[in-house]
Amino acid sequence: MVTELKVSAIENGTVIDHIPSKNVFQVIKILDLENFDNQILFGTNLESKKYGTKGIIKVRNKYFADDDINRISLVAPKATLIVIKDFQVVEKRRVEVPDTIDGIVRCFNPNCITNVENVATKFKVVSKDEVILQCHYCEKNTVKKNISFK
């Protein structure tokens, strides 16, 4: 595939495909890739037959825990996770919206303790389809269009 050639193949590691182009940097932030020593390749505004354009990230010699990788579903709900060993695809699946989200999302309520004092956020995902997050502290809902990241 043309897109595969633009970002070279990896021997071992993880490929995250079908990221919306505008959210590639957000995914990098959520996965904290800035602080990794592994080799990381990424591309954005690549052609996609399914979605028009897409972004892709490849991380050499890194396999993510499900809870970590699923957090990107907030900004890349249709992302595909591909696990590569010896240049072979050993696992390929869609990311899933997790049951809880800890730490990365800001509570939409300005009067919530997490926005007033130095308290890490925690949310329960009350709807996975529409993505509605209920704050563990103030109990108010943050809906998809209001999600912003810390």
Binding site: N111, C112, I113, T114, E117, Q134, Y137, C138, E139
Partner: protein
């Protein structure tokens, strides 16, 4: 319930709530018992309150315990910039139980996570006020002899009223039929309605309370505040529609009672006070018994 904080009404199961109500009935019979001798309860009120703070303090004093605390954050180290975490950690060294009111939503949950002693939420901004909910449940049960299958109307500011939100959540356990009467700007939020839908209960949203008067067992009134309206003209247009007057109490059920979390401004005319339906001052008295029951349960004394 020993050692178990109460932050949100759903922290306690239906059975735990009922056991508090039953114990409250015992304290209503015997409100003065010296069973808290040697115990210290801290009441931390970061914003003013009359009923809630005084009824907590009265509850502790009548049981022979001691109260420490403050009634206004300007007389505490918070004014010097101390964090909530530090305040709670310090006070939990000096007391067996912390009662806290704080205008920041979620502050009570956070306090319960850092505190070494249990925390009772006495109101966190527009979020929760679970002891008000317990005393409302107690009062409803006292007047109706049951909590099951009742028709309950809520009138006024249903958008911002935390007492309404918590009571609606609690009543979802009792096959309640709900009537919500408010101006369009102050309708019940959808996340509270979700509780009712998940419990498969019936609810009706209206703008005129006259339509439901003959159906209901409990009329729960709340204040409609001018500052909640984005358009002052809208407030002027609707304000009189949410005032309960004596002549509205003609075609009603015999057992119907009027409740109000208080303070009242003008939403219940004073001539309603001496009708057999008015029950809001007894409701405030019940706050002492319910808080006695809660404190002694959490401290593991009863």
């Amino acid at each position: 319930m020993k050692g178990k904080s109460l932050i949100s009404i759903n922290d306690y199961s239906k059975e735990e709530q009922i056991s508090i109500l039953e114990l409250a009935a015992h304290f209503e019979q015997n409100p003065i018992q010296k069973i808290l001798d040697g115990y210290v309860v801290a009441t931390l009120f970061f914003e003013p309150s009359t009923r809630t703070r005084l009824s907590f303090e009265s509850a502790v004093n009548r049981l022979g315990g001691k109260v420490i605390g403050f009634s206004d954050s300007s007389s505490s180290s918070v004014k010097k910039g101390e964090s909530l975490k530090d305040t709670i950690l310090t006070v939990s060294n000096y007391s067996d139980l912390i009662v806290m009111r704080n205008p920041v939503e979620g502050s009570a949950r956070y306090a319960s996570e850092v505190s070494k002693v249990p925390v009772i939420n006495a109101g966190d901004g527009s979020n929760q006020h679970p002891t008000q909910t317990l005393l409302d449940l107690y009062t409803i049960r006292q007047t109706q002899k049951t909590l099951d299958n009742l028709h309950v109307a809520f009138v006024g500011d249903l958008k911002y009223g935390r007492t309404v939100h918590s009571l609606v959540q609690a009543l979802c356990n009792y096959n309640t039929t709900f009537y919500f009467i408010s101006p369009n700007e102050l309708k019940l939020p959808s996340y509270i309605k979700m509780n009712i839908k998940n419990s498969n209960l019936k609810y009706y949203q209206l703008t005129d309370m006259a339509e439901v008067m003959s159906n209901i067992d409990i009329l729960y009134m709340t204040r409609v505040q001018r500052e909640r309206f984005s358009d002052p003209l809208e407030y002027e247009r609707v304000k009189d529609a949410y005032i309960l007057k004596r002549d509205m109490l003609t075609d009603i059920k015999e057992n119907m009672k009027i409740l109000h979390p208080l303070p009242r401004v003008n939403e219940i005319s004073e001539d309603v006070d001496d009708t057999p339906q008015a029950y809001y001052f007894q409701q405030a008295l019940n706050g002492v018994f319910v808080r006695q029951a809660l404190i002694t349960s959490i401290l593991g004394i009863k």
